[in-house]
């Protein structure tokens, strides 16, 4: 106890040097950018290519950022859970908790010029791309200030300026779209790549293989990332796929299997994949990950798996705990500091929820906007002209 008080007092000397950070959290932790090398716990398995090295170059700042971002994503998803149960979020709500390492690890390896497209489990990917919490919550609650102005909902988050292309409700339909993004990058000679995320359920879709063929044929800079959380809604992978080695199913396309609960391994794999895709065309990354919630809020998540399994994964493989252990063992932060950080994040999320709750719902004229582009001052009517009428900009 005395020791920690001592260390916190001594850290006040370091405070001025650290407050140059953008985060509102007053931190006393080490935010060194000097490189640290950490070995991933699980080796990579590869198909038709070499595995990247298990030693990942990172820094204190980066690991701390992982912790902060993942904790924020986790809190956001838990908050969404309560909002759904309070009937403020309706319809479908697919939560990402447990899979956060994928979102943060990927972001650490790429730039905002690289495109990401994913399925309906998109809340955390949106945040990872720079989306704001309040925009996410507003969209979930169907408010005008949401990222899609309340018209998309949980499954349709987009952020064009950060090259985040959504947010798609139909399983697997985003895969050809993602290849289209890669095609455009090649057409425009962008030197950027596209990460096309899909799940183990979508891995059995025909359009995946059609898109793989096209991407491999034309050397498109597409990286297909299979987020294997082992359950396609209620069906386990061994019951739906003859070959659950998703990284191998590309056949002629190289693949890599990655521990998706380890943010550093994800970062390493994505970095490797980006280099590969820019030179040699598509590559498949299979991320071995897990979701704690059911498929969506309507699914309890316990009818097809045991609670022991869920809590087992939570104890052994939780991505945030893993990073916490790293931070503590490398003396980057103390236990108390991390707990304070989590408290701040909790407050941040609660504030965002409160702000989103206050924001207005879209007015009825919004029903017809964004149907077509540039409506030229034309008047637009609903099927019943007398009721709804709006002049489009």
């Amino acid at each position: 106890m005395a020791l920690s008080r001592l260390s916190s007092r001594s850290n006040t000397f370091l405070k001025p040097a650290i407050t140059a950070l953008h985060s509102p959290i007053r931190r006393h932790v080490s935010t060194d950018t000097s490189p640290i090398t950490i070995e991933t716990a699980v080796p990579f398995t590869s198909h038709l290519c070499e595995s990247p090295s298990r030693s990942v170059e990172t820094s204190s700042e980066e690991i701390l950022a992982f912790f902060r971002d993942m904790a924020q994503m986790r809190r956001m998803e838990i908050a969404a859970d309560s909002l759904y149960k309070a009937k403020l979020i309706r319809g479908f709500c697919h939560l990402y908790d447990g899979q956060e390492a994928l979102a943060v690890g990927m972001e650490a390896a790429i730039t905002k010029k690289d495109a990401i497209i994913t399925s309906y489990r998109d809340h955390c990917t949106f945040i990872g791309r720079g989306g704001k919490l309040v925009d996410a919550f507003s969209e979930l609650m169907g408010r005008k200030t949401g990222c899609s102005h309340g018209k998309g909902g949980s499954m349709h988050f987009y952020k064009k300026d950060a090259s985040f292309y959504g947010g798609h409700g139909i399983v697997g339909a985003q895969i050809p779209l993602g290849c289209g993004l890669a095609f455009a990058q090649k057409y425009n000679k962008d030197e950027a790549v596209t990460f096309v995320l899909y799940g183990d359920g979508a891995a059995n879709q025909g359009q995946l293989f059609e898109a793989l063929n096209i991407a491999a044929l034309w050397d498109l800079p597409a990286i297909l990332v299979c987020e294997n959380n082992h359950y396609g809604m209620g069906t386990a992978t061994w019951r739906s796929a003859k070959s659950p080695a998703y990284f191998k199913r590309g056949d002629y396309v190289p693949g890599l299997k990655v521990d998706g609960m380890d943010a550093l391994a994800v970062k390493q794999a994505c970095k490797f994949a980006k280099e590969h895709a820019l030179k040699n065309g598509p590559i498949i990354l299979e991320m071995d990950t897990y979701r704690y919630h059911g498929h969506s809020m309507s699914d309890p998540g316990s009818t097809y798996r045991t609670r022991d399994e869920i809590s087992g994964v939570r104890q052994v493989r939780d991505p945030i705990e893993r990073v916490r252990k790293l931070l503590l063992s490398h003396d980057i932060a103390t236990e108390k500091e991390l707990k304070d950080m989590e408290k701040e994040i909790r407050k941040e999320v609660d504030d965002a929820v409160a702000q989103a709750k206050e924001s207005p719902v879209p007015d009825s004229s919004e029903l017809f906007t964004n149907m077509y582009v540039k409506d030229c001052g034309v008047e637009s009517f609903g099927a019943d002209r007398k009721d709804l009428k709006v002049t489009l900009p």
């Binding site: 987009y158 947010g167 050809p176 455009a184 057409y187 044929l217 964004n370 077509y372 582009v373 034309v378």
Partner: protein
């Protein structure tokens, strides 16, 4: 007298009528069409009297009609030349598929973001020769030969469009696009809306459809009716080399997804089109033959059956007004409405199926909006609700023939 206005390149400002919003006060009856949207940036063949009003009925008569058409693949029909022919200073004669190609090539020259993707569009030159020679000129990346995976390459086109490219996706036969229905409906139509306006999808999906010469059931489909409910897309059907080129160019320039329906049997229609650049309005119907007794609404190939029937009708003393609706979604209820108010009788002739077809929607729209102006119920002649049989005689019976049109007009005009 010419109602053809020059394209944007010519910059002729004086004679141009900018887009006018449909002034709701001009409508006496409410319009059912959910919107009358104009795309930006291109000039249309609109009223040429210089006054700034929405399409007055008088200007429609002076509108472009086909002076001489010598179709060789279809029933030998000459468009009725009673309507004034446009005074073309110069022009060149070509076939419909060449007109499409010309439009496509001009747009690809104009904007490097325009690209074509489809099966056999590149090296083979297109199964109907619409993209012939383009791969040599523009390269493989801009005229992309895809493998046979409609779902994937349609999705790919839409994804590319999200970033700003302007792909033209060709379905070798419209019927094959059923495999891409998910992409067209959910992604193409809806992404602009669900993203709150962040993404635009300026794709053109085109291909031949319709009943051909004994092609069999699966290759004789009319998909207009399946696509018409998809919110967010526009549908147009071309029928002459003139409007084929004009609509192709307009569709490419439009920021909205447009489905351009061509017809297998119309590709070899020959016509003289202007040398100057021009574009057709995507949402406008075409007055083919003005008249007084009855309004006949049609599109695509049935236009020629109607014109052939019109010859017989004129000999019998009738004066039909023939309108090629061209815009299948949204309907040009302004033109149609003005015509109904004049003639009070409507006959719809279409190649779509009876059930849930374009004619069915149009009948509902006319009844809802112009009921007070009708002296007789709206009659709709459509194809039979059967898969198109192979046998030639049976196939003839599935589509509407000129004799049936004549009978229907006589019935309505009693």
């Amino acid at each position: 007298m010419s109602a053809i206005l020059q394209g944007a390149g010519a910059g002729a400002a004086a004679a141009l009528t900018p887009f006018n919003s449909i002034d709701s006060n001009k409508f006496v009856a409410p319009s059912r069409s959910s919107l009358s949207v104009r795309s930006k940036s291109y000039i249309v063949a609109g009223s040429d009297d210089g006054t700034n009003k929405s399409f007055g009925s008088s200007s429609l008569i002076a509108r472009r009609s086909q002076p001489l058409m010598i179709p060789n693949a279809v029933t030998a029909t000459k468009a009725d030349t009673a309507a004034s022919s446009t005074s073309l200073k110069s022009g060149h004669e070509l076939l419909l598929y060449e007109a499409l190609q010309e439009g496509l090539e001009e747009e690809m020259d104009r904007d490097p973001h325009v690209c074509v993707m489809g099966e056999d569009v590149g090296h083979y030159g297109g199964s109907y020769k619409v993209t012939k020679g383009l791969a040599d000129k523009f390269g493989d990346l801009r005229v992309l030969d895809t493998p046979i995976c409609e779902n994937a390459f349609t999705g790919m086109g839409i994804g590319a469009a999200m970033t700003g490219l302007r792909p033209i996706i060709e379905g070798m036969n419209m019927g094959f696009l059923l495999l891409a229905f998910n992409q067209i409906s959910n992604n193409c139509g809806m992404l602009h809306y669900t993203s709150g306006g962040q993404f635009t999808i300026p794709v053109v999906i085109r291909g031949p459809g319709g009943v051909g010469r004994q092609l069999g059931a699966e290759h004789s489909q009319r998909l207009e009716s399946y696509f018409q409910s998809i919110p967010g897309i526009q549908m147009v059907a071309c029928s002459t080399p003139y409007n084929a080129k004009g609509l192709m160019k307009a569709a490419i320039r439009s920021e909205n997804p447009v489905i351009l329906f061509e017809h297998v049997l119309l590709y070899n229609l020959k016509e003289s089109i202007p040398d100057e650049e021009y574009i057709c309005n995507l949402e406008e119907a075409e007055m083919v033959r003005p008249g007084e007794h009855i309004t006949i609404l049609t599109y695509s190939r049935m236009r020629y059956h109607v014109m052939q029937a019109a010859k017989t009708l004129v000999n019998k003393g009738y004066d039909p007004e023939v309108i090629d609706i061209r815009s299948l979604k949204p309907f040009d209820l302004h033109t149609i409405g003005n015509s109904v108010k004049k003639t009070h009788r409507v006959l719809i002739v279409e190649e779509c199926m009876r059930t849930g077809g374009i004619g069915a929607s149009l009948t509902a729209a006319i009844n809802e909006n112009f009921h007070d102006y009708l002296d007789a119920p709206v009659m709709c002649l459509s194809s039979q609700d059967v898969p198109t049989p192979y046998a030639g005689t049976l196939e003839e019976w599935t589509v509407v023939q000129p004799a049936q049109i004549v009978t229907a007009v006589e019935q309505l005009c009693q």
